[in-house]
């Protein structure tokens, strides 16, 4: 049944792009409403004065994992058709380290 657009062969169609704008809108709205557009909150994680970012991120991940694997177990969603970044362990360790350093410098 899912992913709907992919199974319908409508990837990169106007409908797909319109949905991207909609999902983006909610993404931006949720991030701003939760305080993740506030650099002082993001920096706060690294000085332990505000851990909102960690709470939001990990709650989101746990929620998404439960929904994704739950619906997959019910046969509603085919996980093998979903996008997953390729795995390059050493590059990711280095990239993550540099990104984290940049994040605490810049705040985003």
């Amino acid at each position: 049944m899912g992913p709907v657009i992919k199974l319908a062969g409508m990837i990169n169609s106007p409908v797909d792009f319109f949905l991207a704008v909609c999902f983006g809108f909610f993404f931006g709205f949720i991030l701003e409403s939760s305080g993740l557009a506030n650099c002082r909150k993001i920096a706060g994680v690294f000085y332990f004065y505000d851990v909102t970012v960690v709470q939001v991120m990990f709650t989101a991940i746990v929620t998404a994992v439960l929904l994704l694997y739950g619906t997959s177990a019910m046969g509603v969603l085919d996980l093998s058709l979903l996008y997953v970044p390729d795995t390059y362990i050493y590059s990711y360790i280095l990239a993550g380290f540099i990104l984290g350093a940049g994040m605490v410098m810049g705040g985003y």
Partner: protein, 168 residues
């Protein structure tokens, strides 16, 4: 100015969004590739042949393609509008330089620029940022994404003391 949402509520909302995006479109959020493509788009205006022949950016233009006709670019426009709408309805819409009390606005902006260069470089090296790798890869239980995510926190904590003037 209204308060921010309760973090766990925001997290659940975000989790549902990630899920529905996957369920319907088969992919989900990302931030850095939109910015990469936006940069390529602007460079293409001033130096078209240079960027079309670039090993990394050239593929965005192969076969008369345009870099911004891309799912994550449309998502990026939506994200901008959504953030703007949220700031507006919560009474937070204003132009300001958010920073710690000690640092000057110029110092804060300089630090932001260097931080941005680091983040931009790292997001290409790591094939994503805290959205594409951190949220999406981690939700798909990708080992690489979890390694990336923990490295982000390690990198942040490693450098935090050095740049504390910017925030504390």
């Amino acid at each position: 100015m209204k308060d921010y949402w309760q973090p766990y509520l925001g997290g659940v909302a975000l989790g549902f969004l990630l899920f529905f995006s996957f369920l319907i479109c088969g992919k989900s959020v990302g931030g850095s590739s939109f910015l990469t493509r936006l940069a390529a788009y602007f460079v293409h205006i001033v130096a078209p042949s240079h960027i079309e022949n670039s090993a990394y950016f050239g593929r965005y233009f192969a076969g008369a393609k345009t870099p911004l006709n891309y799912w994550l670019a449309y998502l990026g426009y939506g994200t901008f509008l959504g953030g703007l709408a949220s700031a507006f309805v919560h009474g937070r819409l204003k132009i300001s330089i958010d920073k710690g009390p000690k640092v000057s606005p110029k110092g804060r902006l300089a630090l932001a620029m260097f931080g941005g260069i680091f983040v931009g470089f790292a997001s290409r090296l790591g094939l994503g940022c805290t959205s594409g790798q951190g949220l999406i890869g981690a939700s798909m239980l990708s080992v690489g994404s979890w390694v990336f995510l923990f490295s982000v926190f390690l990198g942040g904590y490693a450098i935090a003391y050095r740049v504390r003037e910017g925030w504390l």
